[in-house]
């Protein structure tokens, strides 16, 4: 059995996006008395996305395979970043950022808890000193 490359899934996702764009664009005026309407340009790039993504899907048996090694680490870091952004709403930038920095140092790079805590605290303090205090920039 042929092994499909990830191009199949990205092609299908883009085809869905193209379909959505075309569907939305059809609801808006294509041409008005003054000239092209709001649906004119999106309709054409939506059709182009749809057509090209189908080319990608059809060619996906020949597409390159992807090395997924390490993807889990990258996604775990992204999840930690997303979680820290949610946390920021409740505990403020400095604490949420310190948690994120601790996670990167202690979990992703397996450094000792003390070193991780020192780095996290120093970075959070540094950001607080530079942005709100020195530059007057509001933090989230």
């Amino acid at each position: 059995m042929l092994r499909r490359s990830p191009d199949l899934w990205s092609g299908l996702a883009l085809a869905a996006l193209g379909g959505y764009i075309v569907n939305e664009a059809r609801r808006w005026d294509y041409l008005t008395a003054d000239g092209p309407g709001p649906g004119f340009f999106p309709l054409w790039y939506g059709i182009a996305i749809l057509a090209l993504s189908l080319v990608l899907v059809l060619a996906s048996t020949r597409g390159p395979q992807v090395d997924w090694k390490g993807t889990g680490r990258a996604l775990a870091t992204w999840a930690a970043l997303a979680a820290s952004l949610v946390l920021m709403k409740f505990i403020g930038f400095a604490l949420a950022f310190a948690v994120l920095a601790y996670f990167v140092v202690a979990v992703m790079y397996r450094r000792g808890a003390v070193l991780a805590a020192v780095v996290a605290a120093a970075l959070a303090a540094g950001f607080y000193l530079v942005f709100p205090l020195a530059l007057g920039i509001t933090l989230p």
């Binding site: 990205s10 808006w28 000239g35 990258a74 920021m88 920039i137 989230p140």
Partner: protein, 504 residues
Amino acid sequence: MDIAAGLMHGFALALQPANLWWCFVGVLLGTVVGIMPGLGPPATIAMLLPLTALMNPAGAIIMLAGIYYGAKYGGSTTSILLNVPGESASVVTCIDGYQMARKGRAGPALGIAAIASFIAGTVGVIGLMLISPPLARFALAFSSPEYFALMTLGLAMVVLLAGRSMVKALLAMLVGLWLAGIGTDPFSTTSRFTFGRMELLSGIDFVVVAIGIFALGEVLANMEAREEPQALPVPKGLRNLLPTLRDLRDCRFAFVNGSVIGFLIGVLPGAGSTIASFISYGVEKAFSRRRDEFGTGVIEGVAAPEGANNSETGGALVPLLTLGIPGSGTTAILLAALVLWGFKPGPLFISEHPEMFWGLVASMYIGNVMLLILNLPLVPLFAQVLRAPVYVLYPVIFGLSIVGVYTVSGSVFDLALLAGFGLLGYVMRKLDYPSAPLVLGLVLGGAMERALRQSLMMSEGSLGILVSRPISALMLACAALVLLIPFFARLNTWRLRAMEEENK
């Protein structure tokens, strides 16, 4: 304003203490960023862009441009010392630079890289200064059809040279156009693709996309490696950095070759400094009397590509400042920066804001001198940057990205978008979708739609207006040819080879 008066005006501005300071900060940051593999100028400029909103625009553009051309200087250091290019533009410098280092000539290799960068960088600025004003005057005759055709040509060039798969590059560019279309249609006030969110009515801020895709995407991709990269041993004995007179004599042609080819390639949208350095290296080798020795540590093999990638910077600023058309991810961010500060790059930019244009040109002369001074004696010090632990660097990049986005919009919704675009940037890298076409599509999308709709209003709906005007017809024909290149086997082989080198 003629060139001499403009330049005097520019130096008066660039030599002000505050602007000198920002120039120094820019070139210093650029050198550091250039040395660090895995952190590039687009990511750095995108992260710092929001913070420049607090600065004087002249100081801000001087600093951001300093990062842009400073990184080209820094990129050669790791290529020569460690055989690891700090920037993709320095890939070709590894070939002879590292061989020179292995033969105990790391000092002269670094020295000639700095000297070639200085000479060609200066020639690039001279080209920018001489060509921009007449090109801007010529472009005053452009109307909407010409602008649409020009943007189409620019995007076609970027798509051609952005990735191994043209289908993926085209898709990335089209997604960029879609992102640009999100928000309220300026002609009819219809809200488009807003998913019912009030926050999207004014569109997606470019800064959010640029920081997410370039900075976060890059860090997430780097996080894949389980272990922190080991600090590589930096050779000692770099005291003698000056090349000999014979070295300089051997590099005469390389200085000229790098300067001219780099600038000309820079003016073309999409080509970029990596391709400039490869072509310059190829030309140098083809015309050299000792072409068989290339690859074994020939000093011209360092001077030509290093010169080309620095001269390219001046060339790349020509279409950006005179036509408002960026040719790469980095110049797209510089365009966004100018728009953020209230300027409109295009044919009127030089006449309406001479202080910005001439101040930037003068600062680039000064910045190149600073870089020469910084890079010759301080290379061993800069090489120590490689010892900075990444487990400190990456959280700092996360923090700067968050603060940067929040500074521009003050919106928590934009922080959620930032995380989303960070993930998109990572996935694009993983699946081999080039990011430059997406960013350029986003930057040019609004203007492109406006130009197309205005053209069709002028012609009462007839697309014939795009091909009945000679300049527009010529540019659209060129764009069509560019997109047909993959169908010509020999040209496509050349394109794929350039892409492979770019992605190595």
